[in-house]
């Protein structure tokens, strides 16, 4: 390649020029980049955006036999049905309660564990605990649910212990008690994600300027003083941002653990929005109401994300988008 080309290639690629011809020329010059992106963008469009077309169903009396083209329109009827449905509010309650419980326990747990790990001086011990506590994050919810069932079943570990201790006279089917479901679900979620969620806090703690601690040493500060006055204030900005951002997805909890840990006996406590939408559609054939529920959920979570983004931006200048 000669000198002239070396000088011109970057400039022609970067120079902002307008006009259709230039756009076409640019497209032609970047055909490899296009080849590497356009097929996947189309794929993404199909699977992420085309389903939005299905929102029409929420305004129809949809039946699978007729399809979207032939089903009759009914206006807002499906939303009215939804908002007059007591079960909808029950499911909404379950969603919000379980998501708040995991949010609070997850945050307190992650910060506490990170602070405790940060105080450990033996690198080997710290590494080992980290490695071990990350494991459940990578294990499927199906496996976790199997473990839970094994431990909580009438002839499982927990019942066995309670019997031995004499706290109960006969075995209890713990998974069949609706009022315990939220606690079980939250504990399981905490157990699964606790270790993994400390990663970011440990990174922040590792990045604290050691001079701060040394200065505190000179001033005669003990471990607890240093933790309280240096470590905790250092991770607070990160914690606040993460907390605010996760508020944005408070309605968007998954449904895997509720599906797998739940059973018909505890359905009034375990059913969440997505599972209810599935039940409405495939269980009772009310596809349109199920889609209306989905739209409601998307709009609420979109509003939450935008609101929370503004809040985070105001407080600390961090923006999601």
């Amino acid at each position: 390649m000669n000198l002239q080309e070396m000088q011109t290639t970057p400039t022609t690629r970067l120079a902002p020029k307008s006009g259709k011809k230039n756009v076409l020329r640019k497209l032609a010059a970047q055909y490899q980049l296009l080849l590497m992106s356009v097929p996947f963008v189309i794929l993404m469009f199909v699977f992420q955006y085309v389903p939005l077309w299905g929102w029409i169903m929420a305004f129809q009396n949809y039946s699978p036999g007729k399809g979207i083209w032939k089903s009759s329109f009914v206006g807002w009827d499906n939303f009215i049905t939804l908002f007059n449905d007591e079960r909808f509010f029950l499911v909404m309650r379950n969603t919000l309660v379980m998501s708040s419980m995991s949010l609070v326990t997850g945050f307190v747990g992650a910060i506490t564990l990170a602070l405790l790990l940060n105080e450990v001086r033996s690198t080997l011990f710290k590494r080992t605990i980290q490695t071990v506590t990350y494991i459940p994050h990578f294990v499927s919810m199906v496996v976790i649910a199997n473990i839970v069932i094994t431990f909580l079943s009438p002839d499982g570990f927990v019942n066995h212990m309670l019997l031995k201790l004499g706290w109960i006279d006969e075995t209890v089917f713990i998974m069949g008690k609706g009022e315990w479901f939220w606690l079980i679900n939250t504990t399981v979620g905490l157990w699964k994600e606790l270790g993994w969620s400390t990663i970011i806090y440990l990174a922040v703690l590792a990045g604290i300027n050691p001079d701060l601690y040394e200065a505190a040493d000179v001033d005669g500060a003990g471990r607890f003083h240093k933790m309280w006055h240096i470590s905790i204030p250092s991770i607070m900005p990160t914690a606040v941002i993460l907390l605010i951002l996760s508020l944005g997805s408070i309605i968007n909890i998954g449904y895997e653990s509720q599906f797998l840990l739940g059973n018909p006996l505890v359905l009034d406590y375990s059913e969440v929005l997505d599972l209810y939408a599935l039940n409405l559609s495939f269980g009772s054939g009310q596809y349109s109401v199920g889609v209306a529920l989905g739209i409601f959920k998307t709009i609420i979570s979109l509003a939450l994300v935008i609101g929370v983004n503004r809040l985070a931006n105001k407080l600390s200048g961090i923006r999601l988008f």
């Binding site: 390649m1 290639t9 970057p10 497209l27 970047q30 980049l33 590497m36 992106s37 996947f40 963008v41 993404m44 699977f47 992420q48 955006y49 085309v50 389903p51 939005l52 077309w53 299905g54 405790l116 105080e119 450990v120 011990f125 605990i129 490695t131 071990v132 506590t133 459940p136 990578f138 294990v139 499927s140 199906v142 496996v143 649910a145 199997n146 473990i147 069932i149 094994t150 079943s153 009438p154 002839d155 075995t171 089917f173 157990w191 606790l194 270790g195 990663i199 970011i200 003990g222 607890f224 993460l242 951002l245 797998l260 059973n263 006996l265 559609s281 199920g290 889609v291 989905g294 998307t298």
Partner: protein, 295 residues
């Protein structure tokens, strides 16, 4: 005084963390012990850390079951093929988005970010996939999730952090975008790609909901789905027995129990992850951090 308090704190701290580590590992150890123990002995409920009456029988029974064997094969194929395709496609897309001169960069970014917050929902997606003829097909495991927006962002960020001169000098040497990607960018991004490889493959291996929702024929079942079926069977059995005292096992007289089968299958499903995880561990923390910040 302070020294005494600090020593107490240290002791307490180590004990607490050790307890947490134990509470994390014990369920797996216990299930491993149950899977290697004689099922009838397990029913007496005295298995904790190791099998009382050692046997490989449970594993033999599982691997003799043709449906389970085939499900394991399918899960392996899904994980290998799905991870490979997904990683290659995701990396290509991420590379294009890291090139500042790319004409579609901003539009694609916008399209991706919106898709993170707006989705059609579970029912329209189901109808779309059905309409595309992807139900009851192996490809439903691979195609809809081929590109994960999140992974694209992580890889793009990593590529953007490579020294600009690296790519620029390759371009000046006349390398095309494909050459730059495969000869320069990918070899320089091994840590982040290993992280994403771990995330994608774990995701594939752990998936069961697409199997449950889209593939109703048994000839496409995955291992996780088979395990889920066992789980639901056990649960419904317990639900039916919830009114009576305790839960009496109907298959107790044969030489295998649902509990033993469940424990053994759980170990079989978990083992690949536990085997791969330590090797990739050194890579994934950095990737997880980029993810957490962007989340």
């Amino acid at each position: 005084m302070t020294r005494y308090r600090e020593a107490t704190f240290d002791l307490f701290n180590y004990a607490l963390l050790a307890l947490l580590g134990f509470a994390t590992l014990y369920p797996f150890v216990n299930l491993l012990a149950i899977s290697l123990n004689d099922p009838l002995d397990t029913m007496r409920g005295e298995v904790y850390f190791w099998p009382n009456q050692f046997t490989w029988n449970n594993y033999q029974i599982i691997f003799q079951e043709n449906a389970l064997y085939m499900a394991a094969v399918r899960s392996v194929v899904r994980t290998l093929l799905g991870t490979f395709l997904s990683l290659v496609c995701t990396t290509m897309l991420a590379y294009t988005l890291s090139r500042r001169e790319f004409i579609l960069r901003k539009s694609i970014n916008l399209l991706m970010i919106i898709s993170m917050y707006v989705s059609g929902g579970i029912i329209p997606s189901y109808l779309l996939i059905k309409g595309l003829g992807l139900t009851n097909s192996f490809w439903v495991y691979i195609i809809p999730g081929l590109i994960g927006v999140f992974n694209v962002i992580i890889i793009r960020t990593a590529i953007e952090q490579l020294p600009e001169g690296l790519i620029e000098s390759a371009r000046l040497d006349g390398a095309s975008d494909f050459q730059v990607l495969f000869r320069v960018v990918i070899p320089c991004s091994i840590p982040v790609l290993a992280t994403i490889l771990l995330f994608i493959s774990v995701g594939h291996w752990n998936s069961w909901f697409d199997n449950y929702l889209y593939n109703t024929r048994d000839n496409l079942n995955l291992l996780q789905f088979e395990l889920m079926k066992v789980l639901l069977q056990s649960t419904s059995q317990m639900v039916n027995n919830a009114s009576s005292t305790g839960y009496v096992d109907s298959e107790a007289l044969s030489n295998v129990t649902p509990e033993a089968i469940r424990a053994t299958m759980t170990i079989v499903v978990t083992m690949p992850i536990l085997l791969v995880y330590p090797f990739l561990q050194k890579y994934f923390i950095k990737g997880a951090l980029i993810g957490a910040v962007k989340e």
